[in-house]
């Protein structure tokens, strides 16, 4: 359902792969191999060339804002532009936050007082509120404690299963790959290769 053919950027070598519906694929590789650049190119944040197809529709046929809602990128560090949590979520989606285990008054929480775990879970919720078809997660649990790692992993795997979405999850932890991945890809020296998920 998500097809990438010869995707290339200024510092990104040509890369091809595909993700199936309901599939969670982990991506690893040495730092500097271009994992973040790959995710950014897929979300169409940097200039790039090549063919990317979502559910049979080539990227140029979808407007950029709509594309980024459907092919959603979660950077390693989340950014917030307003003072309270609620300002980052359109009104109708407040219910989603309660479903995700946040207190009903979460909308009025101050962003700067959030713990790193809360920040990351809220960033994920903010992204999932758009109901993306493809999730591009850049080390989403790197700064989290085991409990929050578990919450994020459950949230994502559940979403993918229910929505039949696809996910490319960058991680360096072999035990995490073993826990969540259907498949594992390895990016190094401009080549992407299949690795057996343990």
């Amino acid at each position: 359902m998500f097809e990438v053919i010869d995707l290339k950027g200024p510092q990104l070598p040509a890369i091809s792969f595909r993700l199936g519906a309901g599939e969670l694929v982990c991506l690893s590789g040495p730092s500097g191999a271009g994992k973040t650049l790959l995710l950014r190119a897929l979300a169409d944040l940097d200039a790039n060339s090549g063919r990317v197809v979502l559910d049979g529709v080539p990227r140029p046929q979808i407007t950029a804002p709509l594309w980024r809602r459907q092919v959603a990128y979660l950077p390693a560090e989340s950014r917030w532009w307003a003072a309270t949590v609620g300002e980052h979520f359109p009104d109708v989606q407040q219910s989603l936050l309660t479903e995700l285990g946040f207190a009903p008054d979460v909308g009025s929480w101050q962003v700067e007082r959030l713990s790193s775990g809360e920040r990351q879970r809220l960033a994920l919720a903010r992204m999932l509120a758009n109901q993306p078809r493809v999730l591009l997660l850049d080390e989403p649990t790197a700064n989290l404690d085991p409990e929050n790692i578990g919450i994020v992993e459950r949230l994502v795997t559940e979403y993918i299963r229910v929505q039949q979405a696809a996910c490319l999850w960058v991680t360096h932890a072999p035990e995490q790959i073993a826990r969540i991945a259907d498949r594992a890809l390895y990016l190094d020296a401009g080549r992407i290769s299949e690795r057996k998920a343990a």
Partner: protein, 264 residues
């Protein structure tokens, strides 16, 4: 009007030299800059005096237009030079120059034809000083705004992209920055208007009074100029911010900071 002699100006120049001399030990580079700037003022103003004299003697639309274009070209360069991070290539010059052209020239034409209503409308004695004041102030507003725009985009790139990622349109992703930038471009003229006559006596009016004009007449011209300047600076800043924001993003609404280059 009391005529100033070369000696009078030399005495005034002593003040600047004294300042340069005093600050030379603490800020050697600045003293040099000060002297060079003072020298430039003397030479540039003397030259423009001669040019204006020649221009006033034969009021020809072609000469007035040529003079206006030279002024615009220099102002465009000045806007570009004041950017910490400016748009690379011809955009660095183009955005400022085009915005100034749109706003200053339109407002100047409006004032000359509709408000002042001189015959011919391009009479250089009115057209050139008016355009000069408009360009000078518009240039300030535009260079402040563009500098703030590119700097903010650079500093807040991750926040801007955080919004793009969520499917916000480019113009929404920079809406807060845009507001602040527009404000920073307009604040100087708002302050000038608010303080005029109380804290400061504006230069043009003071000049007219020194030259022997009736204060109430000088005031009317000053009010006119203030209104024109605020319109020129405001519309110019609007245009520059609009063009700048468009250039910051490409057709796929990606934030293109690679289109900026840092001033060395």
């Amino acid at each position: 009007m009391i005529q100033l002699s070369l000696l009078d100006l030399s005495i005034a120049a002593l003040l600047v030299i004294a300042l340069a001399f005093t600050s030379a030990r603490i800020y050697p580079g600045l003293a040099r800059q000060l002297l060079v700037a003072a020298l430039r003022t003397a030479i540039q103003l003397t030259l423009i005096g001669l040019i204006l004299k020649a221009l006033f003697a034969n009021a020809n639309l072609l000469w007035v237009a040529l003079m206006a274009m030279v002024m615009l070209a220099v102002a465009g360069r000045e806007v570009m030079a004041r950017q910490h991070r400016r748009f690379a290539g011809r955009w660095g010059y183009g955005i400022g120059a085009v915005s100034m052209f749109i706003s200053s020239f339109t407002v100047a034409l409006f004032a000359l034809i509709v408000v002042i209503g001189n015959d011919p409308w391009y009479q250089p004695q009115y057209a050139i000083p008016l355009l000069g004041m408009l360009l000078g102030n518009t240039m300030n507003g535009i260079s402040l705004a563009l500098d703030r725009l590119t700097q903010s985009a650079w500093e807040m790139r991750e926040t801007i992209e955080a919004r793009l990622i969520l499917g916000h349109r480019a113009e929404d992703a920079v809406s807060d920055i845009r507001r602040q930038v527009f404000r920073s471009g307009l604040i100087p003229i708002i302050n000038a208007m608010a303080a005029a006559g109380i804290v400061s006596l504006p230069g043009m009016m003071t000049g007219q009074i020194l030259a022997g004009a009736e204060p109430t007449e000088a005031v009317k011209y000053q009010i006119l100029i203030m209104f024109l300047i605020s319109a020129g600076a405001g519309f110019g800043t609007l245009a520059a911010v609009h063009l700048g924001v468009r250039r910051l993003f490409d057709e796929r609404q990606r934030l293109r900071l690679d289109r900026l280059q840092r001033q060395v």
